[in-house]
């Protein structure tokens, strides 16, 4: 690799598709200092996320939980605030020339017709707009004007015109108070120089009209799951109330039909869309919440809840009384008078059935968007027959064109945690193609005010382009502010959020000589970064800024009573001023960060993570308990695309051991571990007892898992009962090894799924076993076509493209027999071998199957992780796998900063998924370490040692374990790195020894007084 100084490659990256995947990739690359162009054809970034009312399995929006330490609350906002990210909405990639490191991307930017900087979201334009169209965001269930505001969280948040619906009457142009609208705006083109490209254009929902038998688009009470999602969403088309479109009445009997446009040859969608079972479970629960007396029926073929924690979610939903019918609906018809929809299906007991419902929801599958297919053709990317981006098993985010990476649903339908992991892996791939990002400049030191300085408060009122002044009397507000105690100056501006606004604000602070600022304007959730910048330029630290929310919290919500709104604005400013008197000019502290990373585990996950990090320039210490690298890769006979994974393991091990930045310790374990994120100290104990000290900034846990063992079905008692892994190793050797194995003369082979899995012992689904069984069955049928293979299953969970294997197995004559708990199959000895007794759940009849061999699908069990978890100070989940920070948004992070996890240590995964997680965890660690100087947060708490009585109440109150007792000094300390700044301990402290910065007790009481007393 060339030296950074002569590296001619671009250090910028282009991301096409700014949904969850694109935003996550962009944030990670931006954190490392790379300029990021975030292109999306929509008017704002955020993709499909805005559609979702809540997401499984936490049933919360949950985006804010992804970043508890940031001032921002969702990835869209984070992207908009990050100085390295340039969101390019309404843009398309037209052409891409060049090679990795030197791409030239031609971009067309379509007109918005509204100037984003000038638009104040006042809504006057939409009020006068005479043109309407169906609201696409609400699934066409509500009307929308041709000029419309994007969803509340969209970035940029400004009106936009749909020219297809616009009649060019010009009324909005006249109505706009800031002259933001230009109906004659033209598209523009530009060329970007980038070093790598990530494609994450997402998915499109299947068009339910193509399944004519369900009558969507004709029968008014048949809706799609997307329309239902919007109905259930409080800001949605019906404000969170479930109603029947035909008469607006609440539906009592609701049916969900699964696999609409999935697993369906008739519409050319043979694959499984992976997420619909879970989203239906979520929607069914939402329906019950909104209407507790609703009767919910789900029509489904299999229940596919294969993700981490999904099986438990599913169990919970089932217990809420939701009916599941294993049946395929053949027809829907709506009664013209009652509006009831009758569904025809074949019942579980056989025979045609008809049942009436008030509302029918079609769980539509996901497909590759048309625009993404065209893009792939334009830039020469391979796609599979369904238009999804083609990748390799051992290079799961790389496209056929070097330097172009694929992530998110564009590779195949997937849920949020898998998307988040894949986005990070794609970012890792791209980062290796880019010139190094410029070294981050150390932050300019901000001067602070001496604590004893007399408070001189400046009140600065931002009228937000006059929108505040429409309700609040700004002159009266300014006069009142000037009369408040300690207020030295009052200023005013129209637009503090612009670059000029910031400059003029900081000039005003300097000129007026104030040492505290009350900023009266928009919500403190907005523009905080910009305002902090203005203060810093004037030499004031951020905690000396107080916000008075007179826009969202006043002017915009009290339009009908201007006099009282003005009074309220005055109160709000007085409260902020009272608090500003006590503002504590605390200085942010910094600590250096170590560059190195410790990777625990040398299997596929650990080796991949180590290589990725080393390629990104980080020194890596890899610790493996065994004496060879490769882990479970040695035990996998073959995979869907790779005949010999062992060879892959050896090739990877070779790369790892020969890499100059990787130190490998074999036969070694972790002996000690201490420190905080950015500065960990560890000792590696080698086989000979020698202890090697290691100093690292981050740690990645990749300790793997293993094929589970069981104590049932005569396993261990009878040599003819084996595991899927055994069969896979035999089959990998072809005819030759088959001839020498126990399966030599097999005529009847019975596979039992969920052996010791999805039951009370291991209540989770192991995700991979159905596909593993199907794959083995296919290979056996190929080698021995006359052998009969029976697969006894509860649900076949061959999600995504694995469904094609399931289809192939059935075509080859593999017999699938469904059983249901509590009737487990029984393996018993028979005259000439074994026999398996099972109750066929579809027929309801007992079946006796002869078997020469029985193969059990036992799934993946965690390694004994408890000791390591304790040593590292990270939690395990209830199944014994490591517990990630957040099941959706942070699947690869521990709550402990600087700690990451991947692979089977996280949960059961396929080979490509493990690689994705390992690359993703490596990228997350690299991004974390790129902040050479870690700035401590200013919202943390501190302890006054003199007042602390060492009672320990704060320790039990802290949800993060950030408060600890220091027995030497007899004081309750704060572990700053773990502290998330909630302030719960500060309230608990009986002596007020603990104070939360910027929320000090004194300051809050002053604010309460000012608020309660009023004018």
């Amino acid at each position: 690799m060339a030296d950074a100084a002569v590296d001619k490659r671009s250090n910028a990256v282009l991301i096409v598709g700014a949904g969850l995947s694109g935003m996550q990739s962009g944030l990670l690359l931006a954190q490392r200092g790379h300029p990021v162009y975030l292109v999306d054809e929509a008017p704002g970034i955020g993709g499909s996320l805005h559609l979702l009312d809540r997401t499984f399995p936490t049933d919360s929006c949950g985006l804010c939980i992804s970043s508890p330490t940031n001032a921002t609350y969702c990835p869209s906002i984070e992207c908009s605030l990050h100085p390295n990210i340039a969101p390019l909405p309404l843009a398309e990639l037209l052409a891409l020339d060049g090679e990795p490191g030197h791409f030239r991307a031609r971009i067309r930017r379509n007109p918005r017709y509204v100037n984003v900087e000038r638009c104040t979201l006042c809504g006057d334009c939409a009020a006068v707009c005479p043109a309407t169209r169906p609201h696409p965001h609400e699934g066409d269930l509500a009307p929308q004007k041709a000029i419309y505001a994007p969803p509340p969280r969209a970035v940029p948040n400004a009106y936009v015109i749909d020219m297809a619906a616009c009649i060019r009457c010009g009324k909005c142009v006249e109505a706009c108070p800031t002259e933001a609208i230009n109906l004659d705006e033209q598209p523009t083109e530009e060329t970007l120089e980038v070093g790598a490209v990530i494609l994450s254009p997402g998915y499109a929902p299947f068009d339910a009209r193509r399944k004519g038998e369900f009558g969507f688009g004709v029968l008014s009470n048949v809706v799609t799951s997307i329309q239902f999602e919007r109905m259930a969403s409080p800001p949605g088309s019906t404000r969170g109330k479930l109603v029947r479109p035909s008469d607006g009445k609440p539906p009592k009997r609701i049916a969900f039909i699964q696999c609409v446009g999935s697993r369906d040859q008739t519409v050319g969608r043979e694959y499984c869309s992976s997420i619909c079972c879970m989203y239906t479970a979520k929607q069914a629960r939402a329906a019950l919440e909104s209407q507790p007396d609703a009767e919910i029926t789900v029509f489904t073929m299999d229940i596919r809840t294969f993700g981490k924690g999904y099986e438990r979610y599913w169990d919970g939903v089932q217990q809420e009384g939701i009916r599941f019918r294993r049946a395929m609906v053949s027809k829907a018809k709506q009664h013209p008078k009652t509006g009831h929809v009758a569904l025809n299906y074949v019942g579980e007991a056989g025979g045609p059935k008809e049942e009436e419902f008030d509302l029918v929801v079609l769980a539509v599958g996901l497909e590759s968007p048309q625009s993404a297919r065209e893009l792939a053709q334009r830039i020469g990317l391979d796609v599979n027959p369904y238009g999804f981006g083609e990748t390799g098993e051992f290079a799961p985010v790389a496209s056929n064109r070097s330097g172009i990476f694929i992530a998110g649903c564009y590779a195949e339908p997937k849920d949020i945690p898998d998307t988040v992991a894949e986005a990070a892996a794609a970012a890792a791939g791209a980062a290796q193609m880019l010139a190094p990002a410029p070294e981050k400049r150390p932050e300019a030191p901000t001067a602070t005010v001496p604590p004893d300085a007399e408070p001189a408060i400046g009140v600065f009122i931002c009228t937000c382009h006059g929108t505040v002044g429409q309700t609040v009397d700004v002159d009266a507000l300014a006069d009142y502010a000037a009369s408040l105690p300690h207020v030295a100056a009052v200023g005013r501006a129209e637009d503090c959020c612009t670059e000029q606004g910031i400059a003029s604000l900081s000039a005003w602070i300097k000129a007026s000589g104030v040492n505290r600022l009350v900023f009266a304007g928009c919500s403190p959730r907005l523009c905080q970064t910009e305002l902090a910048q203005a203060l810093a330029r004037a030499g004031l630290a951020e905690p000396l800024l107080q916000r008075a929310n007179i826009r969202e919290g006043c002017a915009w919500v009290h339009r009908d009573s201007p006099a009282q709104a003005t009074e309220k604005a005055q109160d709000v400013v007085a409260m902020a001023a009272a608090r500003a008197v006590h503002a504590n000019p605390v200085k942010a502290q910094t600590a250096p960060v170590q560059e190195g990373v410790l990777v625990i585990g040398g299997g596929l996950a650990g080796m991949t993570a180590a290589l990725t990090l080393a390629n990104l320039g980080h020194p890596v210490t890899l610790v493996e308990r065994e004496t060879t690298l490769g882990g479970q890769l040695h035990n996998i006979g073959f995979t869907a695309q790779t005949p010999n994974p062992k060879a892959q393991a050896e090739a990877l091990a070779q790369k790892v051991t020969s890499h100059e930045r990787i130190t490998v310790h074999l036969g070694a374990t972790l002996a000690s571990f201490s420190g905080t994120g950015g500065q960990f100290q560890a000792e590696v104990q080698k086989g000979d007892g020698e202890r090697v000290p290691v100093s690292v900034g981050a740690v990645i846990v990749a300790t793997g898992g293993r094929e589970a063992l069981v104590h049932e079905y005569r396993y261990g008692e009878d040599p003819r009962v084996l595991l899927q892994g055994d069969l896979s190793r035999v089959l990998a050797g072809g005819q030759e090894s088959l001839a020498q194995s126990a399966f030599r003369d097999v005529r009847n082979l019975v596979m039992i799924q969920c052996a010791g899995s999805r039951d009370e012992n291991r209540p989770y689904c192991s995700r991979i076993c159905c596909t593993q069984a199907v794959k083995n069955a296919i290979r056996l049928k190929e080698l021995k076509p006359d052998a009969n293979v029976f697969i006894l299953y509860r649900d076949i969970r061959t999600f995504g493209m694995h469904e094609l294997l399931y289809r192939r197995a059935r075509d080859l004559g593999v017999v699938f027999v469904r059983y249901a708990l509590p009737d487990k199959p029984v393996v018993e000895p028979a005259a000439d071998g074994l026999a398996v007794r099972v109750t066929d759940a579809t027929l309801g009849e007992p079946v006796l199957l002869p078997a020469d061999a029985v193969v059990l699908s036992t799934g993946i069990a965690p390694n004994p992780n408890a000791d390591l978890a304790q040593l590292l100070g990270v939690p395990l989940d209830s199944d014994g796998f490591f517990q990630e920070q957040h099941p959706k948004m942070r699947p690869l992070n521990f709550m402990k900063p600087g700690g990451f996890l991947c692979g089977l240590a996280h949960g059961p995964h396929f080979v490509p998924e493990t690689i994705v997680q390992a690359q993703g965890a490596a990228m997350r660690a690299a991004a974390y370490l790129s902040e050479r100087q870690r700035r401590s947060k200013t919202t943390r708490v501190d302890v006054n040692k003199r007042l602390c009585s060492f009672c320990g109440l704060c320790v039990s109150a802290c949800p993060y374990g950030a408060r600890v007792m220091d027995y030497d000094e007899r004081v309750a300390r704060v572990l700053t790195d773990l502290c998330q700044g909630c302030g719960i301990c500060a309230v608990t402290c009986p002596n007020k020894a603990t104070q939360q910065y910027t929320f000090e007790h004194k300051a809050l009481l002053a604010e309460v007084d000012a608020g309660a007393l009023g004018l």
Binding site: S60, Y73, P959, I984
Partner: protein, 142 residues
């Protein structure tokens, strides 16, 4: 103001992540509600010191609204449960002292429930108007 209808004054303590954001959404959606409320932003409803509530009432606020994330949704894992316990205890103490504890409202309002926030304020203002002014108002003016 005194010669017209009684206008209650409400002090609201809203958590940064859910209810404050929900109140902002009411603003950006222009959902109108009565201007009787004065909002104090906290990082978490669990960071609400009961002293703040008592202080507000002693200083003459007619009601106190506390807003947090829905149970299970707390940004800081369990802060809202702590708030729930503290408020319950505070209310029972105030009741013992002869104070009308129904002037204190604890509500779960998420970031997407701008409408619910506005409705809650409207409802609370009406309830406090029915109750009349806080009897402690002015009691400490000497």
């Amino acid at each position: 103001m005194a010669d017209t209808e009684f206008e209650p004054r409400i002090i609201a303590f809203l958590c940064n992540w859910c209810t404050y954001t929900g109140a902002d959404l009411a603003g950006t959606s222009r959902i109108q509600y009565p201007p009787n409320i004065r909002v104090i932003r906290l990082m978490c409803s669990g960071a609400l010191d009961p002293v703040y509530v008592s202080k507000a009432l002693l200083e003459g606020a007619d009601g106190v609204l506390i807003g947090g994330c829905h149970p299970g949704d707390c940004h800081y894992q369990t802060g809202n449960y702590k708030a729930r316990r503290r408020v319950a205890i505070l209310k029972s103490i105030l009741k013992q002292l002869g104070f009308d504890e129904d002037r204190i409202w604890l509500r779960w309002i998420s970031a997407s429930e701008g409408r619910l926030f506005a409705d809650t304020v409207t409802e609370m203002v009406a309830a406090l108007k029915a109750k009349g002014p806080n009897p402690l108002k002015g009691a400490w003016d000497i």
